[in-house]
Subunit: 513 residues, 2 copies
């Protein structure tokens, strides 16, 4: 560690307290705190958590909806050198129990209201030997009582900015979720770029309505916090609650997606709420009547490609001016390469795995040494996502690198062939599998559902692909079906393999599970 140059997320709060003593830091649950008030509570919380056994390097689990206490707990973990692990309470009790057992937190913060049943079932499935502190409890062991009894004064402890602060679960590879470990450094670095793209200032008030166990919401919270903006957290996605919060705190920015926008517009029929503090440069006419013109990015997903493992965005649609790529240009803090299976950089126009490195990359997955070694081989983080560098240098994300086919010496990613087929007007949806081929190892087979009232022959679809992607990638056979088999929302490739004779995949997922 290097006290002269290090900066941690806890230090941000120490400075906001001094730099912005009168400003709103956080609001929610009917409470509002200035930065000095927030810092005072965070110090008490850090003392209390340490007294209850949370030590540097350990995990603090969060099993609750959005609350101003989310920011308190995150910042207390930051000052303690612990990591903060917000868990998805919408998961099944088994899934939650798995995450709890996997993260092995030294302390759990939990909420009774609305989600107490699910929380208790998960608790039964995990080791219960550590303290569970109720956020919305009244008793002597509950959160507010701990704070009231705790020591005051800055919790001063040297914390390594390269140590993990966020422990966030992400989709499983090999069938189970893994906890991506994001350091103070990664959080600060991404926040600087995201705040630039969103033109954040300390005069903004940002509304978090989406669940903060997802990176897409967490990264905005931190970008606004970095520059000393106010943060308003509504417990969950309820249109009236959102409207009341915007009106009460004069929120200037929010990240709201399609259905939320519609629900809010409905809740606000007749102009019941004053939403004019929100600023927008574009939106539906209905929305533009409710809000004020401005450059703030509410409604505006910054666009781009990213993943939890990279603290969110890798590329930004808003960076780099006009571009050919569907997902903009890379963050200036990342090196990005499109690589083949051997890690060699591919030329523009070719599809390969997106590999990145730089300060926003995770430290690794918690307790997955083999997966980490594989994913970080050669000093690059392998995203397991496919992308293409366009001729103008911009990036298109193609799809997840789930499985790979091999035709002779050539690697073929089904998702690339699927995107090409789906650009044919007669194709509603499709899936591409590999079927064993005595000469070519595998050959490409497409299973296609046609759009209602449209028709296309197998030969026509094969020709469509031949004209657009490398010839060896085109399907050699096409099957037409009325529906593709699914598991949840995802296409069930195993069922397709079983039905159409696919299998024997040589690359991709089989190497990394």
């Amino acid at each position: 560690m290097d006290p002269l140059h290090d900066l941690t997320v806890g230090d941000l709060l120490r400075e906001h307290r001094r730099n912005l003593p009168d400003r709103l830091a956080v609001a929610g649950d009917g409470r509002r705190l200035t930065f000095p008030e927030l810092d005072a509570r965070v110090n008490r919380l850090a003392h209390a958590l340490r007294d209850r056994g949370l030590a540097p390097g350990q995990r603090l689990a969060w099993l609750a909806q959005n609350s101003f206490r989310y920011l308190e707990a995150l910042l207390a973990a930051a000052k303690l050198g612990a990591s903060f692990c917000p868990l998805n309470w919408r998961q099944s009790p088994d899934e939650l129990g798995f995450a709890l057992a996997d993260a092995a937190p030294a302390l759990v913060l939990w909420q009774e209201e609305e989600i107490g049943g699910a929380v208790r079932r998960a608790r039964e499935r995990s080791a219960a030997g550590v303290p569970w502190v109720q956020l919305d409890g009244e008793g002597p062991g509950a959160y507010e009582a701990l704070l009231a009894a705790a020591a005051t004064g800055d919790f001063e402890l040297a914390v390594d900015p390269e140590a993990p602060l966020l422990h966030m679960y992400t989709a499983g590879f090999g069938g189970r979720p893994s906890g991506a470990l994001l350091s103070h450094r990664a959080i600060l670095a991404q926040s600087l770029v995201l705040a630039h793209v969103c033109q954040v200032s300390c005069e903004d008030v940002y509304l978090s309505a989406g669940p903060l166990f997802h990176m897409g919401n967490f990264m905005f919270l931190m970008a606004y916090f970095l520059y000393g903006a106010g943060n308003v957290l509504v417990r969950r996605n309820d249109a009236h609650e959102i409207c009341r919060a915007i009106e009460a705190e004069r929120c200037t920015a929010a990240y709201l997606v399609g259905p939320q926008l519609q629900q809010i517009a409905e809740a606000n029929q007749g102009g019941r709420y004053d939403l004019s503090s929100l600023r927008a440069s574009r939106g539906s006419p209905e929305w533009m009547k409710m809000v004020s013109p401005g450059e703030s990015p509410w409604l505006r997903d910054p666009g781009g490609y990213g993943q939890t493992e990279t603290m969110g965005m890798v590329t930004y649609s808003a960076l780099g001016g006009a571009h050919l790529g569907a997902h903009g240009r890379p963050s200036p803090l990342l090196q990005v390469r499109i690589v083949d299976e051997e890690g060699r950089e591919l030329p523009p126009g070719e599809v390969g795995e997106i590999a990145v490195r730089g300060p926003t990359v995770m430290n690794g997955y918690f307790a997955r040494p083999e997966e980490n070694a594989l994913r970080q081989r050669g000093g690059w983080h392998h995203t397991k996502d496919l992308g293409r560098r366009e001729a103008d240098g911009s990036i298109s994300f193609v799809g997840p690198k789930l499985r790979m086919l091999k035709s002779a010496a050539e690697n073929i990613y089904p998702v690339e062939v699927e995107r090409c087929l789906e650009s044919h007007p007669a194709v509603a949806e499709c899936a591409v599998i590999g079927v064993p081929d005595p000469t070519w190892v595998q050959s490409v087979k497409a299973i296609v559902r046609l759009a209602p009232g449209r028709s296309a022959s197998a030969a026509e679809l094969i020709e469509h692909c031949r004209a657009r992607i490398a010839s060896y990638k085109k399907p050699r056979s096409v099957e037409f079906v009325d529906a593709l088999p699914r598991r949840g929302f995802a296409i069930d490739y195993d069922a397709l393999d079983a039905r159409f004779g696919g299998g024997g995949y040589p690359g991709g997922s089989t190497r990394s599970t």
Copy 2:
């Protein structure tokens, strides 16, 4: 080093080459290079410099005016792990000779045109045993010939982002200039914040007209480079050259100060040049007719307080909304404390030394171990500047901490008393010294030049101070003079001490020289 997370200034160029293959990277001297062209030349230069003896950790000196080659040399040093040392060719040959001897560069890049005489005189005064490469020469040993003969391909070498890249001389403490060492990390960190304040995008084209041996110009160059904007360098401050460059490259932003603005407006009388690509949100009516409305910060110094040792800005006027402090609020990447002589934080309203820490702070001065230990005591960089935290958390820079008086146990900084006296309408300028006092150690004496046609008594001026600053800081005696003695532009305090009996200073500069 940590290949998965490290990022260096050389890496930025590696990425711009891929991300922005068609864009202008740099223009000047009638040349213009895209990012791939710049990267190719930088690689050749890095190979050539290494072959001529420049090794990682060594210094590359730049003794020339602005040129696109400045950026090439900086980036070659970055890829080599060397530091780039731009020297002030306007100094006297003795001063330049001192800097050359102090930096002990392994290689010097120099320019004949206009400044060859000064360069040669400095060379005579320094060790001549290292290669001197002429930038504007034609011969086989000159810059372009070296490049033409050099190896191609990326100069791939792992470089520590915490190693110094910039070696920039700054005003002397103890009578001689010192080379502040700024790391890759410090340059990247400051560039992120400055680019945010200036709303830089890769569609900007930034004009550098001021000398790049000064931090105030260098920091902008890097902020624009970080986000892939084009950089245009004009050789020196010539209004017609500046106008031609703006017109030719459609520059959108520049950092121009008072006299330059007037010279440009004169050069452009009758609308001889098209300066409409420049964007400005405000300016004189004359200027607003020549340029386009927009949010770009040309003409607009971001404002604030900073120094070379902190890679430029510590506080930004543009950060933190409305504020009481004259110099805005701190960068989110710095911790800032106003401290007393013992390093204890002072409450808002009191004047003390500005101490900072964070990733934008220099590594230290080159070859000044004792000064470094003193300046970095307790893990804080002591700026030797005085400031005050205002009630709203913002910062006012008060002045340099040159010398300190002591009245009984109280520390008094003359600059604070001078600012107070100068706020009296009858005072044109003044200086405050300490005169020995048998009871109080020292007592405060003010030497005042009155404004033409104004009068004020000593008692009136003393009362003016008593009402505005702590009583012990007010002058106990006032002398009126027709002129203050000066050395160059600076008031000659030694002459004042000699004339008015000052001296015996107990604090400040005597401790750190």
